[in-house]
Amino acid sequence: MTSPYPTTGDAEGRTADARDLGGDAEGRTADARDLATLARRVSAAREEAEARGETFYPGASRIHLASFPPKERWDDWIELDSRAWPERRENRSMLVPTTCFNCESACGLLAYVDLDSLEVRKLEGNPEHPGSRGRNCAKGPATLNQVTDPDRILYPLKRAGRRGEGKWVRVSWDEALDDIAGRIRKALDENRHNEIVCHLGRPGEDGYTERVLASWGVDGHNSHTNVCSSGGRAGWQYWTGIDRPSADFANAKVIYLISSHLETGHYFNPHAQRITEARARGAKLVVLDTRLSNTATHADYWLSPRPGSEGAINLAIANHLIQTRRYDAAFVRRWWNWEEYMAAVHPGRERTFEAFEEVLSGLYREHTFEQAAAESGVDAAVIAEVAEVVAGAGERLATHIWRSAAAGNLGGWQVSRTVLLLNALLGAVATRGGTFPNAWNKFVPRPIHMPPHPEVWNDLNWPGEYPLSMNEMSFLLPHLLADGRGRLDTYFTRVYNPVWTNPDGFSWIEMLMDEQKVGCHVALTPTWSETAFFADYVLPMGHSPERHDLTSYEQYDGQWIAFRQPVRRTAMERLGHQVTDTRETNPGEVWEENEWWIELSWRIDPDGTRSIRRWHESVENPGTKLTVGEYYRYIFDNSVPGLPERAAAEGMEPVEFMRRYGAFEISNEVGRRHEEQVHPSELHEVSIGEFGRVFTRAPAAPSPNIVPTGEPEPDGEGRRSVGVMVDGQVLRGFPTPSGKLEFYSSTLAAWGWEELAVPGYSRSHVHPSELDPDEMVLISTFRLPTQIHTRSANSKWLDELAHTNPVWIHPEDAEQRGIGPKDLVRVTTAIGYFVARVWITEGIRPGVVACSHHMGRWKIHDHGQRQMMRPVALDTEEGSWHMRPAGEVSGYQSEDADTSRIWWSDVGVHQNLTFPVHPDPVSGMHCWHQAVRVSPAQPGDRHGEVWVDTKKSRELYRSWLEMTRPAWQVSPDGTRRPRWLMRPLKPTREAYRLPAPSEDGSE
């Protein structure tokens, strides 16, 4: 049969302007007019619907990627009850947004609050959240487990017997508040400000607790950061004056991770989804991880270096970029402080960029692929291939390191500094697909009150041996107290569990048990913890759907805020109920921190004479107590650009908008802030430093965004730094002393570490040359993707997924030591040992063992969580501590039927107890990696058993202390610390001055 119409091959000879399909084009356009009308009608209808704040297209996932309840239905959302099937029973809920608190990402959650019972039925993703975009990991929905946890703490408790004995009585909030406030008032009145310390785990709201402590006039903020991310931060701070990376993963061409960022970490879910998008577009993923993490399994290049050698690989890549001249010379010339470097280190040479390039070319010449291979054990050809991939990324290189190698090794902060060297060479700083300083992708709105920073310096948090430490030396507290450097009158542990999380936990127990050292220990916690067992007060604080916080985190090149709120309270208020404080809507007498701090501050200063109360007073009704409602109303009305207008467009007040949608995006595509020209109005009587730093007498306009950054010092005549001169223009630059990217850190050089002033590689404390032949390296820092430190102890959905932490060991190492599959082993550290089960796997390199720190929860009394906390017997004698399992977890009856279905008994081992403190002498980071001996368990050893000698841990503390270069020896200006460096609380200039050596107690 022959077709009258052309088919394949029949169109030969057609001209380019006859591209129709062979039909009748004329006849076909007759209907177009009707379609045009129809299309316009649809457009108009959509615009109308969206102007009303409604969703136009129904939630079909294929139309707009994901399916969420349309937001105009959030007040009364109906779902069929799946358990009632086949009956069609309807559940009616109010959908109230909050943010997750189970890691630092603050992903958006939507709480389904049952309209009949006002209980939270479930938690799902909030599509209005710009960071997480409606997606969550398992930890988000599992928040429900924490809310309904049958073992949670519901009422304030006070110790009844000896500290740690496990006897408690229920007390009223009034009793607890009056007692604690009285202690603090007395300490302040007696000028014992440094005896008040608050030790924070996960921060809830940027700066909130710091401001409370500032309002009391104490330098008592102590964070967990030095056991977490100080190493990663320090490398960033010395380069940029800002302490975190914000990689634009979604637009990257090459993603270079020294982390397991696709499965855990900050900010795992928002970042992982963007890394996944980039990979779908063809981006290459390079992962450096000694262990085959879930992230490494997705990598195009997985490099498994010897722990601590990551910096050598970074430098070999940097050297390749330099030797092949693949770096962005124009960017380096404009933005590195090379002139300052040449003047300081090569004063005899001409101060030209060409001369610098010559020096640079020689500086890293020895860091060849072969040298990196010898250090790392990774094949030189693989490193060379990765170097080429990195070179090809140009400005679209997104790098990230947070804990990992930076948290594991002596000098780990240099790993972070050498990662950023790659970005700085390629000009991939604050570019599309590059890596930004986090402060540009973060917005911390100015609050209603900003109390001044304290007039005192707390040497227990900021000891003089560590003048450059990134954060407080929190994990040294037991040793500093044992040194006799002070005592604590009132010590808060707030959502923090140092006994379990920190290294050397038995020294923490010794400290907490000693009432001479710690007068009163107040544990503010939503759940039982190993630390709370040694408290005088245990005060229940809310989980994420039970508290207020305002958060903003760098998750892409944009700025947003998200609102954590007590969802039942919001739902009840929307339904017309009057709520005075959050305790009325939380389970039991669980409170929220913000209200608690306001209440406590009022009781410390009941008549306002101590100038504390005024920082917690209402502005709308002077003389009365500030409410959380007013606190946030003020912020949303005054400090969030664009929010009032956006809310008004939907006919709402800003606070109503935030309560309804939970998040607001302030800006998108922030771009290269450092290239912004300084406005002429800011340039008044300027002075220009030798290397181009520009100072002005014009006062700084108050910014609504108070995100923390470095604060470069004024010039000698008091002008503030405002920008930096680059090619004849005054540009905003970076918040460093030079205003540029500090390839050469004059700060490190001036404070005694001249040999480390440029990015470099120094050998870790677990370098092969430091190990005995039978020693291995233990990696203890990695997380299990679905666990949450302390708070997942009773998150049953998560516990079922992961509940133990075997020791990863390579088959060759296992065979050499006569260790078989699932055998028990004894892992011996410098101060003790732990007994664990092995997992023999090729997912770890030979010579290295690994054990996740998430597990091994324990309790010494009946109370505590029952799903993941193993009962133990704890014996001690003159510094020798022995922990032995005294039972197993098993199913139990409770109001939650699932608790009878616990099928696991192995909850792992608490390895951190056996780690001595390893403070990095520069960054102050605890260097987690351990040199260990692994041997088959000995007769009588039991899984989970731990033995430690805290006398040895004292010796180790002292030996690491010897590596420091204390401020009283190296300070160039008689101060305790470079004032421009970040510090959560920044005491007055007078307090920064070093005391006379004898007063310091350190010489």
């Binding site: 049969m1 399909l21 006849g27 356009t29 299309a39 129904p58 079909a60 707009h64 779902e79």
Partner: protein, 320 residues
């Protein structure tokens, strides 16, 4: 007059939404007025209202709206044909959705490209987006919708029949805009300039033949790209009633195999008639979509010829 690209995109999204399950997006609200999809349908003048049972019958059981079924050489969901659509999403740098070849996803993608093209100020990028849109329309929509939509219209009635007709009209208008563009217009496409067919329809007709062997033959009859026609479970049930054969319910191939075992000549004659109907149907659309439907018509015609000969042989054998 042609509407602005953004409005056309809206219309396409509405039509994409209309083949999603109605009411699913807001259970419990069936009683407070029309569902979201019903409201959209009303807005664009569709008759009747969508209901979940009809939707399930049509789009889940009878005529799943996935390109792979109608363009693959095994007539199955997924496989190479779906992967090829997935590759297209990937090439555009867009995350591949779970069902990249679902009609709703394809229409939404087309709408997004239309908007992106309209927003793009840079000429080269705008041209690239125009080419991508034209490729999507030509390769992944026009390649199978001329077969699919008329069958939906005929089978469904009411809301979905009017949806299928409107969609056909809208798709045709988009084809006009792209392929009847004057010379030099960036949207005027290279692929059609050489008269090439979409990848799935290239090559001469390869009609099912009994020589392939029983199962393969039956499969080929039920594979649109081989037979040029689309037989549903309802069609086969109707056939069984018509010839008084016992119907064994199951997947289509199982049903047809059983019918052929019972009454081979009658069944082949009936399929021959169906091929003829499809040939007529495709021919009636030739003035609109030209050689694209000619490819379908030729396939139906080739199948008709093979079956004609087969039927004659069977009848002769029976008579003998």
């Amino acid at each position: 007059m042609v509407a602005q690209p953004r409005s056309r995109a809206e219309l396409l999204r509405v039509l994409a939404a209309c083949c999603e399950e109605p009411g699913h997006e807001e259970p419990g609200h069936e009683d407070d007025g029309p569902s979201g999809i019903a409201a959209l349908g009303e807005l664009v003048g569709l008759t009747g209202s969508p209901d979940r049972a009809t939707h399930t019958e049509l789009f889940v059981l009878e005529l799943p709206p996935h390109a792979s079924i109608y363009l693959s050489h095994d007539g199955m969901l997924g496989g190479k044909a779906a992967a090829s659509v997935g590759g297209f999403w990937r090439a555009l740098g867009i995350p591949v959705p779970r069902e990249p070849d679902h009609l709703s996803a394809l229409l939404a993608l087309y709408a997004s490209l239309l908007e992106a093209e309209d927003r793009q100020a840079e000429v080269a990028r705008r041209d690239a987006l125009g080419r991508a849109r034209a490729t999507l329309l030509f390769e992944h929509l026009l390649s199978w919708l001329p077969l699919y939509l008329p069958v939906v219209a005929r089978r469904a009635g009411g809301f979905y029949a009017s949806w299928a007709s409107l969609l056909e009209e809208v798709i045709t208008a988009e084809a006009d805009e792209l392929f009847c563009a004057p010379a030099g217009h960036p949207a005027a496409l290279g692929t059609t300039a050489r008269g090439l067919l979409p990848e799935g329809l290239r090559g001469p007709p390869d009609p099912p033949t009994p020589e392939e062997g029983g199962r393969q033959f039956v499969s080929a009859l039920l594979t649109p790209v081989r037979s040029g026609m689309l037989l549903t479970r309802t069609d086969l049930a109707g056939l069984a009633r018509q010839i008084g054969a016992g119907l064994r319910m199951g997947e289509r191939r199982f049903m047809l195999e059983n019918l052929l075992d019972q009454y081979p000549a009658e069944v082949i004659c009936w399929i021959r008639e169906q091929a003829g109907s499809f040939e007529t149907l495709h021919a009636s659309r030739l003035p609109v979509l030209g050689y694209l439907v000619a490819a379908w018509r030729d396939r139906a015609a080739a199948t008709g010829s093979v079956l004609e000969a087969t039927a004659r042989r069977l009848i002769a054998a029976e008579e003998a």
